[in-house]
Amino acid sequence: MALIPETAKQTIELRVNGLPRSVLVRPMERLLDVLRHELGLTGAKEGCGEGECGSCSVLLDGQLVNSCLVPIAQAHGSSVLTIEGLTADKRLHPLQQAFLSCNGAQCGICTPGMILAAVHLLNKHPEPTLAEIREGLSGNLCRCTGYSQIFEAIRQAANPGASE
C-alpha cells in the first residue's frame, strides 16, 4: 500500500460536556482516541474497535454513537457528552445512583458506555418497558452482570418511587 505523505493536523472545534474544546489533530483520528488522549477523558473505553461492544459509547449531538467509529473531522462543530459530563455539580445522575444501588457495575469497564446508552434510552422512553430496555442496550455488551441488575438499575432510575 503506497503511503500518502503525512496528513496535516487540523483544528477541530467541538463542545464536550458543555464546554467548548479545540484540538489539533489529524482528521482520521477516532473520536474515541481524541477524547481519551487529547482531552484526558478516559471514561470511554476501547473494548473491540469494531463498534460491537459499546464500551466507547458517547452521545454525539444527543445521539448515542460508538466513538471508535467516528472520525474526529465529522465531529467538528458537534457536541459530545461523555460519562464525565453526567456528574453535574458533584451530584450523581439518577442512573449513576441506580447503578450503584442495584450493583449494575461489576468490573466497570462497560459501565460508562452502558450508562450513556441508558441516558439515551430514557431520553426517548422515560418509562421504558423491558423490551425497550433490552433493545436500547443491545449494542452494549456486558460480560459480568448477565444484564439483570442493569435492567433493574434502569427501571429504578426511570421510576424511583416504585416498589418491585
Partner: protein, 765 residues
C-alpha cells in the same frame, strides 16, 4: 419483574455472629462510585512520562523452526526498541507450574501467535506497520490440532507422549459390576473452547530501573503470580520486583496467568528502552493469542441396577491444553474431582489426561475443568434415566449424595445438605412439572417446541487438597491514626466484589462502620501474599483471614490501650491514635492454617478435596424455533446453597453473570479453529449474548453455613458456570426428543440432526 431477587429459603448458620449488621447487607460497592463516574483507572487510562508503546510480533505457523528474521526496508529501525529472547537476563520462561512455556520463542515455535519478538516506539501508530515489515521465515514441522491427533502420537509435540498430566482416581472396585448391572450405559460428551471475553483487553505498563528493579502496572488477577514470573525472567530478588494491579475490566480466569507473559514483555522492553513501556492488546490480538477454556471429551461407562441406582463406572476425561502446560494439570484436577457430580458412586475409576496440541495454550476460565466434566455427568445421568425408563427428577433423587456418604475421592459429606429437597424447591420455583406437561401437549402442533431441563451439581471452593496449605496465605489489617482501617491483601477486584466483601468482613469483625474500612490497591510492595484470586477462594478463605486479622487488631488494642470488649467507634479511634503514637504502626497479620483433620492424598487423589462444596440445582426453559432451528432460553432458575450470603446484591450479580456466560458456552460461543488458529477473533463473529438474548435469570439462595468460611460463606464465583449448559441441552432434548452431547450447540447443528432424521427439507408443520 426480571429478577425475583434474593430469597433465603432456609437459614441454618452454625457460625454466624448473633448481631451481624454489615455482612449480609447490601452495602455500597467500595469502588462503585469511581466506576459509575468514569474515574476508575484501568491500565490503558494511564500514561507515564516518556512512555513508549509496545507490540508483540508473533508466529504465523503452528509449529516449526525459525529460519530467519528479516527487518524489511521502508522502516527506520533505529526508532524502535527491539527485544528478542537473547535480551532476557534471567530464564526464558513464563514461570508457573512446569515452566515449559518460553517468554519469547527462541528458535522454535509451537503454536500460531506465539510471541517471537517485541517492538516499542514512542508513537503507537508506528507499530503495526513496523510489525508487518518484519519477515519471519520458518521451517515448518508437522503440527497436531485435536485431542484424537494428540492421542495417536504420530507426532509427539510435547514431552515423550503429548501428555501434560494424568490422574487416576480409584474408589471401591469395579470387579463384577458389569455383570451385576441391570443396565450398562455408555456415552461420550464434548465441550469446545470458550473465550473469556473480558471487555477490557490484556494490558501492562512496565518500567525498569537499575536501582528499583522492574515494576509493572496492569490488568491482572494474581499479583504474586506475576511477581514470581518476573523474578525468573529478570533474575531479580523479591524486593526488586513490584507488581501493581490497576482497576481490571473483567478477568474470569483469563488474567490468571497470561498477565505474567505480557508483564515480562513490557518489563523487557522497558529495560532495553530505559523508558516505561505500555503494551495493550487490541481485541483481534487478545482473542487470537491468549488462553481459552480447555476443550474436553469425557466418556462414561456406568453400571446401574434395575432402579437406576449407580453401582459403579468408569469415567475417562481428556482435555486439550494447547501447546504448553500452563495450568492444564490443575484444570484437569478439578475436572477429575467434579466428574462424578453430586451423586454417590460406590465404585468408580476415573482416568484423566491433559494433552498437547499446536494451539495457543489454554488456561483458566471460570469453573476451571468442572463445567466440562459436569456437562458430561449431567447429560449422562439423563441418558441413564432414559435407558432405565425413569424421569430426570427420579434418577437424580435416587443417586444424590447424602450426609454421611462419600464423594468419588472418598470425601465425607458432613454438612446437612438435602439435595432432594433442593431439587423439589427448584422444580417448584421453575414450575417445572406444570410447564413440562403443558409443553408436551403444545409441542405436538407447535412450530416452536418448548422444553424444560435440570442440572444438579456441586462446586468445591478453594484450592484442592493441600493447595491452600501450599499457598500459605498471609493477610494484613492495618489501622491508621484517624481510626480508619485498611485491608491488606493481594486479592484482586475485577467485578466480583472482593473489595466490598473483604471490607464488610473487617468492619463486621471490628464492629466499626463499613465506610471507615478501606482496602489497599494490590501492590506487592505493600500487601502480603494472600494467594491468587482464583478458585472461588477469596470470600471464603481470604475473608476468614481478614476476619481473624481484624480480631487480632482489636485484641492488640485491648492489650495495649485497654480498649474494652464492646467498644464504640469513637473509643476505637482514640485507641488507634494512642497506639500509633506510641508504637508507630498498628498492623495485624493472619496466616492460613489448615483445618485439623483434613486429609488429602496427592498421589492417590483421595480424601478431602475441598474445604467446602456449594450445591446447586438449575432449571432451564427453552424454545426451539423449527423455522430457524435457533434455541432461546426463556426462563432460568438458579437455586444454590452457598453457606452464607455475604452481600445479597453482589452474590446475585455473580450468579446471574455466571449463568449468562454459561448460556453463551452452551448456545452461542464457538471458537472456529483452523490449523490451531482462532478464525473468528472479532466481537462481530465470536458471539456472546446481548441484552436482547438473555432470559430473566432468577436467583435464589439457601444458607447452611460453612465452618471453614468467613461468616459461613462458601465460594460462589465459579459455581454458576457449571450448571446452565447441561440444563439447557437437557431442555432441548425434552423439547425435541433428540439428545445432543456436545456444546456449543448451534442452530446449524440442530438443523443437521433433524435433517438426518427426516431427509426431506424440513418445513414448518
Amino acid at each position: 419483574m426480571v429478577l425475583a431477587g434474593l430469597r433465603l429459603l432456609h437459614t441454618d448458620e452454625p457460625n454466624a455472629l448473633p448481631h451481624e449488621h454489615i455482612v449480609g447487607t447490601p452495602v455500597p460497592r467500595k469502588e462503585g462510585l469511581d466506576k459509575v463516574t468514569g474515574r476508575a483507572r484501568y491500565v490503558d487510562d494511564i500514561a507515564l512520562p516518556g512512555m513508549l508503546y509496545g507490540q508483540t510480533v508473533r508466529s504465523t505457523i503452528p509449529r516449526g523452526r525459525i529460519r530467519e528474521i528479516r527487518y524489511g526496508s521502508g522502516v527506520d529501525w533505529t526508532e524502535y526498541v527491539i527485544v528478542t529472547a537473547k535480551d532476557i537476563p534471567g530464564r526464558n520462561v513464563v514461570a508457573l507450574i512446569l515452566d515449559d512455556q518460553p517468554c519469547l520463542a527462541d528458535g522454535v515455535v509451537n503454536h500460531p501467535e506465539e510471541p517471537i519478538l517485541l517492538l516499542a516506539h514512542p508513537d503507537r501508530h508506528q507499530l503495526s506497520r513496523a510489525a508487518e515489515a518484519i519477515e519471519i521465515t520458518y521451517d515448518p514441522l508437522p503440527a497436531i490440532f485435536s485431542i484424537e491427533e494428540s492421542e495417536r502420537q504420530s507426532e509427539v509435540i510435547w514431552g515423550t507422549d503429548n501428555v501434560f498430566k494424568s490422574f487416576l482416581v480409584e474408589k471401591g472396585s469395579l470387579e463384577g459390576i458389569w455383570e451385576r448391572a441391570a443396565h450398562v450405559v455408555e456415552g461420550e460428551y464434548s465441550t469446545g473452547a470458550q473465550e473469556q471475553l473480558y471487555i477490557e483487553n490484556n494490558g501492562m505498563i512496565g518500567a525498569y530501573d537499575e536501582e528499583a528493579g522492574v515494576t509493572v502496572w496492569g490488568s491482572l488477577q494474581c499479583p504474586y503470580y506475576v511477581h514470581k514470573a518476573l523474578m525468573a525472567v529478570f533474575a531479580l530478588p523479591e524486593e526488586k520486583v513490584r507488581v501493581v494491579q490497576m482497576e481490571t475490566g473483567g478477568a474470569f480466569g483469563g488474567k490468571e496467568e497470561y498477565p505474567s507473559m505480557i508483564a515480562a514483555h513490557a518489563g523487557l522492553l522497558a529495560m532495553k528502552a530505559k523508558r516505561s513501556v505500555k503494551i495493550v492488546y487490541d481485541r483481534l490480538e487478545d482473542m487470537a493469542a491468549t488462553t481459552k477454556r480447555h476443550p474436553s471429551r469425557t466418556r462414561h461407562r456406568t453400571a446401574v441396577d434395575a432402579n437406576g441406582i449407580i453401582l459403579g463406572g468408569e469415567i475417562d476425561i481428556t482435555m486439550d491444553g494447547g501447546a504448553y502446560a500452563t495450568l492444564s494439570s490443575v484444570v484437569l484436577s478439578r475436572g477429575t474431582i467434579h466428574a462424578g457430580g453430586p451423586y454417590y458412586w460406590p465404585n468408580v475409576t476415573i482416568r484423566s489426561k491433559a494433552v498437547a496440541t499446536n494451539a495457543p495454550p489454554q488456561g483458566a476460565f471460570r469453573g476451571f475443568g468442572a463445567p466440562q466434566t459436569l456437562f458430561a455427568m449431567e447429560r449422562h445421568i439423563e441418558h441413564i434415566a432414559e435407558v432405565v425408563g425413569i424421569s430426570p427428577v427420579e434418577i437424580r433423587k435416587r443417586n444424590f449424595l447424602k450426609p454421611g456418604m462419600t464423594t468419588t475421592t472418598d470425601q465425607l459429606i458432613r454438612e446437612n445438605i438435602d439435595l432432594e429437597e433442593l431439587l423439589d424447591h427448584a422444580l417448584e420455583l421453575s414450575q417445572y412439572r406444570d410447564k413440562k406437561q403443558r409443553f408436551t401437549q403444545q409441542n405436538e402442533r407447535a412450530n416452536v417446541k418448548k422444553g424444560m431441563g435440570i442440572a444438579a451439581f456441586l462446586h468445591g471452593a478453594g484450592f484442592t487438597g493441600s493447595g491452600e496449605r501450599y499457598l500459605n496465605s498471609l493477610v494484613g489489617v492495618e489501622a491508621l491514626a484517624d481510626g480508619t482501617v485498611r485491608v491488606l491483601v493481594s486479592s484482586a477486584e475485577f467485578g466480583q466484589g472482593t473489595n466490598t466483601v473483604l471490607c464488610q468482613i473487617a468492619a463486621e469483625a471490628l464492629n466499626i462502620p463499613y465506610d471507615r474500612v478501606t482496602i489497599a490497591q494490590p501492590d506487592t510492595s505493600v500487601v502480603p501474599n494472600s494467594g491468587p484470586t482464583v478458585a472461588s477462594r477469596t470470600a471464603m478463605i481470604v475473608g476468614n483471614l481478614v476476619r481473624s486479622a481484624a480480631v487480632g487488631l482489636a485484641q492488640t488494642l485491648e492489650a495495649s490501650c485497654g480498649l474494652s470488649r464492646s467498644f464504640t467507634y469513637e473509643e476505637f479511634r482514640q485507641a488507634c491514635r494512642k497506639h500509633i503514637e506510641e508504637h508507630g504502626q498498628l498492623k495485624s497479620l493472619s496466616r492460613y492454617e489448615a483445618p485439623p483433620g483434613i486429609f488429602w492424598d496427592d498421589q492417590k487423589y483421595r480424601g478431602e478435596a475441598y474445604a467446602a462444596f456449594a450445591w446447586a440445582i438449575y432449571v432451564a426453559e427453552v424454545s426451539i424455533d423449527l423455522t430457524t432451528y435457533s434455541v432461546s432460553v426463556d426462563d432460568f432458575v438458579a437455586l444454590q446453597e452457598i453457606g452464607k450470603v455475604l452481600h445479597p446484591r453482589l452474590a446475585e450479580g455473580q450468579i446471574a453473570g455466571g449463568v449468562a456466560q454459561a448460556i453463551g458456552f452452551a448456545l452461542y460461543e464457538k471458537v472456529v479453529w483452523q490449523m490451531g488458529r482462532m478464525q473468528n477473533h472479532q466481537m462481530t463473529n465470536y458471539i456472546m449474548p446481548t441484552s436482547a438474548d438473555l432470559p430473566p435469570i432468577r436467583v435464589f439462595f439457601k444458607e447452611l453455613g460453612n465452618v471453614h468460611g468467613a461468616y459461613g460463606a462458601k465460594g460462589i464465583g465459579e459455581l454458576p458456570m457449571d450448571g446452565p449448559a447441561p440444563a439447557i441441552v437437557n431442555a432441548i432434548q425434552d423439547a425435541l426428543g433428540i439428545p445432543f452431547d456436545y456444546i456449543p450447540l448451534l442452530p446449524e447443528d440442530i438443523y443437521q440432526r433433524l435433517a438426518i432424521q427426516s431427509p426431506a427439507p424440513v418445513v414448518e408443520g
